[in-house]
Subunit: 225 residues, 2 copies
DNA sequence: ACGTCTTTACTTGTATGGAAGTATGGCATA
DNA sequence: TATGCCATACTTCCATACAAGTAAAGACGT
């Protein structure tokens, strides 16, 4: 018997939080939107308490702001937070790239190549969600290849704000360019060239430095800072 | 009138969370300890609801685990999480050091020197909390000097698990050694030697790689993974 | 027309009771 | 002695009622 599959039904509050979190990240609930404990509770058909606790978790994620006696609002995308997460990603993934370039685990590199193929397919069909998910897996595989899976989990939390921005920007920016950069990273890794791998990764992640101001200028209502 | 000083009384739940968080980080509430909504509420003299919400926030911080219908427990220190945070710190602060070595903002470097003096004083009087707080400010000043204050805020969240470990290890390990490393970092920054600054920082933060296994072996009940 | 006060309809925060689930000790039984 | 059942005392979870605060619309006097 597979004991690992024994699960218990998650609490209502947990499910509500999960639901809201996904909707915020996908841009379904836009930045600045007001949400109400009463309304959400009524819409789902439960009491306020679980919804309230979901709001608290959402606030801990940095995705909502609870203003006492005033209301709860979906957080605007903090430009400072996005740039901070980007800075951290560049530093960390540069180190990861150096490590992987030195070890070159064949299976992981092959799986990264598979993701690039998936990204190409998603680009042609125009499926933004598939593209973003594959993009995430590509970078996650790098952490796995470096034997630092836990690091990716931490980065994923930091990326919360960045993810929302991506769902906006992916429609506007050139996905083919991103795929090319991924290929350059993988090529450098395969050669075992640590310096080239690090440079390619830093170049790739610095792309965002130009995109973020453009996005913020295009939709100022969604951003802060 | 100083409008910045206008504050409203924080909610009970917020205060309880703050209180619990500090106690966990200082090791007052040891890893694995069981805490109860009813008990804490009775001890403070309030109802269970605010305490419950404080527990939820504490769980979001990774400092507690709520097991439905079983109880709430102070999280054990995850060795994997500590090592992950350490890895991220090394990568990020190495980049920060390179930046600061190139710009050399005089005022910030002076303030870092002040912190080293405070650490020396705290070492002599044996005040562990003062030492840790000054240590944090030293590294935070590095981020400020690099113009990346938001980065430190993110690192601070990641450090949650690491902080608890430090309150254990600071009593056991050589603080004088740490001070010497801080001095080496500052010296390299003052010289404007980016490579030496990065190396000194990486060496400093790799110290933990030997300390963590020792701590985990000494008190296995407090750790997991 | 304008400013001020009051009413009213919201919001989140807290208290409390009970529901559902879990762990433990006692006790009868083999 | 060992085993299975069960009462009991917990735990967290959810629903509900009320308290406290905010904000905006409207009445009213100037």
């Amino acid at each position: 018997m597979d004991v690992a599959r024994i699960t218990i039904a998650p609490s209502t509050a947990f499910q509500v939080h999960d639901w809201l979190r996904k909707r915020v990240q996908q841009g379904d609930l836009p930045p600045g939107m007001r949400i109400s404990e009463t309304e959400v509770a009524a819409a789902i058909g439960i009491s306020r308490q679980p919804v309230r606790e979901a709001f608290i978790r959402l606030a801990s994620d940095g995705l909502a702001e609870v203003r006492p006696q005033r209301g709860t609002y979906i957080s605007k995308i903090s430009v400072a937070a996005v740039l901070s997460a980007r800075f951290i990603r560049e530093a960390v993934e540069a180190d990861l790239a150096r490590i992987v370039a030195q070890t070159r685990p064949a299976e992981m590199l092959d799986r990264m190549a598979d993701e690039i193929a998936l990204q190409t397919a998603a680009d042609q069909t125009g499926n933004v969600n598939d593209f973003i998910e594959s993009d995430d897996r590509f970078h996650r595989l790098l952490a796995l290849a470096a034997g630092q899976e836990a690091v990716w989990a931490d980065l994923d939390r930091l990326k919360a704000q960045m993810n929302r921005l991506r769902h906006l920007s992916m429609r506007a920016f050139d996905r083919g360019f991103i795929i090319g950069q991924h290929q350059q990273i993988l090529d450098a890794l395969r050669k075992g060239d640590a310096n080239a791998s690090e440079t390619a990764m830093r170049t790739h992640l610095r792309q965002m430095l130009t995109e973020v101001p453009q996005m913020a200028a295009a939709q100022p209502d969604y951003f802060t800072d």
